[in-house]
Point group: C2
């Protein structure tokens, strides 16, 4: 039995790189064989300051900054949240500056006694803080414009790190600060509230970082797939994902039957990025075919709506297990009243008969969750709503009500068009809410396919 | 103009503590006047390992662990995400151990070359890693049970920090590790996937931490309010929130018209915590009255369902602007088929007439978004579905379609019971989806109120 020291074990990392370590399906980095910790571009770290941030809140700052930094060609290589304690802030800032070229600190710029980011940052870089009456005058004016009394404590917000540039805050009282340091490094202090931080970063910090990093132009697109598993999409796109051109980054995200491929292309010139993106789009569409139902802001419901509008057709729906979800999704799209007439949620079998004309004999013989019933639901609502086409759903969303022959997750879907009615039988995995979402998506995709 | 050194500025923190620094509405800590950075209980820090975690993902581990730690009387005083780099992991672990009594590391325990948390932790604490054939044998057995081939790289998961206890992972191959260190400190290594990390922490780590920290018993309850603004609820509960008994913690969260008061009571004995919680509940109910519609897992739809079931009544719905959302929410509740018959989504006016019997004259004279129409919708669906009671909604969800007289956000709601029909007029703020959610909530609350 060996007792290697830690560093020896790490050497045990001889595990050859080619040994089946494919990139993880959900986060494919450029150059899949490069260890994920390498990569290109300068390093940045983000520090969030605030005891309250450690009390169970979700951090939305870091994902946001991470995405924007990456688009500018900068890698986020560390993230940290510290309480409102001077030593913690000071140590976090100096530690980050020793590892990363850009350090972004969010929070702790307010007027109260526990807002001590300015002091912590000053201690970390060994600079003085300078009181700037012009900044305080601006804060005063802003308060007065809103006819508010200025607490004396706001004076604290007018202290600037020596040599730092003030970043104007049009959405709050705390100005940000940007300090350039030797070696091309930069320390940025941003206010804590997301609504103040995000625009200040986008407007005053990101363009500067972009210029420092060579001014890459980024183009992004999301390709949306339905009817294919994440792993199968990954396989079909194999070579494209695993050998991306420089500056190209792929991420695959899957949720309830929908798979999204996020593509980001960075290049020196916008035309270069656009050309590369167009090349990628051709390859994605060739590999995925009609399973690629849309891009970017498209949803199954918006694409179905586009197809209906293009034909000038109207749609009605009949739902059972989804309880109204299909109609709710169709009407999420503004302007859906152009084609969507309505939906009948016939949860109780009595309504399937009385409102949609499903025959009692069909219900008795086949049961409410069956192909014949879903067909009658679709044809019934289409006739009664006087619609050009219709979609119907009936199934068992659980958690109870399943049997051996008709388990939880079994859903029948019908789409009725002037050309006829098709019926699908599907078995969905998941809990009640997931089964309902998957069922509605399947119905929408079948509608899209029939309208193609 | 002063040029104070950073530490001098911090002394400028003479800003008296009483100067209007009330607790923030959304996170009221026990002893609102105590600076947020103080507090009681031992300190813990969490470190997440994984380059992919820095690529824009939301961190759900930290909020989860933070809540559970707090309930055990332990404060999370730092959180950090580091890439898969040995030095970064080592420095993060040793730094955290220098500040906090408990350090929890998540991730990097997998079998691949970039899973180096074991090595980084070993380097931080200066311990050897010991190969444990019995652990590898268990991993082998688990793979075989699923008829899977065991990659040789999984052997890496059988290395344990010298002196550490193995934490069994029933949901994955990577065992956790728990190492007790001098001075009552503890280092815990947990697997990265949430589905493996969360149960291992709850089952194998939390009970031990709880015992070390005096074994406080915690009781929690969420009180759910509707029909009152967050600030108004805060005001009504004023004294209760601002002078909590020791061990009591309040948090108020508001979302789309619903306000939740989270209460956590920690005490040496379970009976003490329960008694305090009961006292708080009496005061909350006295202050909020019927606006407190439920607790914990209750939702407006489940409480409405409980009231219907208690009376043995059935419900039908008629929707327009919500497009099916009301039915979808009612049927989120398992077993809702006991009382919910169905819903007619009459998005197009033609269906309001043909399916629900709204008179053309009423539509023509008052318009689809009006009190007379919503009344006819409610009474129409109640009659046609042969239901004991009904709810109806019609409104303008936007973004288009608003006029001066009928702006976006205007919604009419009707509830029809054997005792008669009531109609409400409401104007909701927000975007399309928010207006729809708020409208459905208002309809459900009106139904609950009428059934009380």
């Amino acid at each position: 039995m060996a007792h290697p020291r830690a560093s020896a074990l790490f050497a045990e990392g001889r595990t050859p790189r080619s040994e089946g370590h494919g990139p993880r399906a959900s986060a494919l980095f450029a150059e899949g064989r490069t260890p994920r910790s390498e990569g290109h571009g300068p390093r940045a770290e983000v520090i969030c300051v605030g005891t309250e941030l450690l009390s169970g809140k979700t951090n939305t700052h870091v994902p946001h900054l991470s995405r924007l930094l990456r688009e500018a060609g900068i890698r986020l290589t560390g993230e940290r949240t510290v309480p409102d304690e001077l030593a913690a802030i000071r140590d976090a800032v100096s530690g980050a500056l020793s590892r990363a070229r850009f350090v972004i600190v969010c929070g702790g710029l307010g007027p109260t006694f526990d807002d001590i980011t300015r002091a912590g940052a000053a201690a970390a870089v060994g600079r003085a803080l300078r009181y700037r009456p012009d900044i305080f005058a601006r804060i005063l004016r802003r308060f007065r414009r809103h006819a508010m009394k200025v607490p004396a404590s706001n004076r604290r917000q007018a202290w600037l790190l020596e040599g730092a540039r003030e970043l104007d805050n049009r959405r709050g009282s705390a100005p940000g600060q940007l300090l350039e340091l030797p070696g091309g490094r930069m320390l940025v202090l941003l206010p804590g509230p997301f609504a103040e931080m995000a625009p200040m970063f986008a407007e005053a910090v990101l363009p500067r970082l972009g210029r420092l990093c060579g001014g890459l132009r980024t183009r992004k697109r999301v390709f949306r797939f339905y009817g294919i598993a994440e792993s199968a999409a990954d396989e079909r796109l194999g070579r494209l994902l695993r050998r991306p051109a420089p500056g190209v980054e792929f991420t695959i995200l899957a949720c309830l039957g929908l798979v999204d491929l996020h593509v980001s292309v960075a290049a020196r010139r916008a035309a270069g990025a656009e050309g590369e993106l167009a090349r990628i789009e051709r390859r994605v569409r060739a590999a995925l075919g009609r399973r690629c139902f849309g891009t970017d802001g498209d949803s199954l419901e918006s694409v179905a709506g586009d197809r209906l509008r293009a034909r000038g057709w109207t749609l009605a729906a009949a739902e059972s297990c989804t309880g109204g979800l299909l109609g709710e999704r169709l009407t999420r799209v503004p302007g859906s009243s152009d084609y969507f007439l309505g939906s009948v949620v016939a949860y109780h079998d009595g309504l399937k008969e009385s409102l949609l004309g499903v025959r009692r004999e069909t219900l008795r013989r086949w049961g409410a969750v069956s192909a014949p019933v879903v067909r009658e639901l679709a044809e019934g609502v289409r006739a009664r709503a006087d619609a050009d086409c219709s979609v119907a759903l009936t199934g068992i969303a659980g958690p109870d009500g399943g049997t051996r022959a008709k388990p939880v997750g079994l859903v029948f879907i019908a789409v009725s068009l002037p050309g006829g009615t098709t019926v699908l039988r599907r078995l969905f995995a998941g809990n009640r809410s997931q089964i309902r979402e998957r069922a509605a998506s399947a119905a929408l995709f079948e509608l899209i396919s029939r309208l193609s």
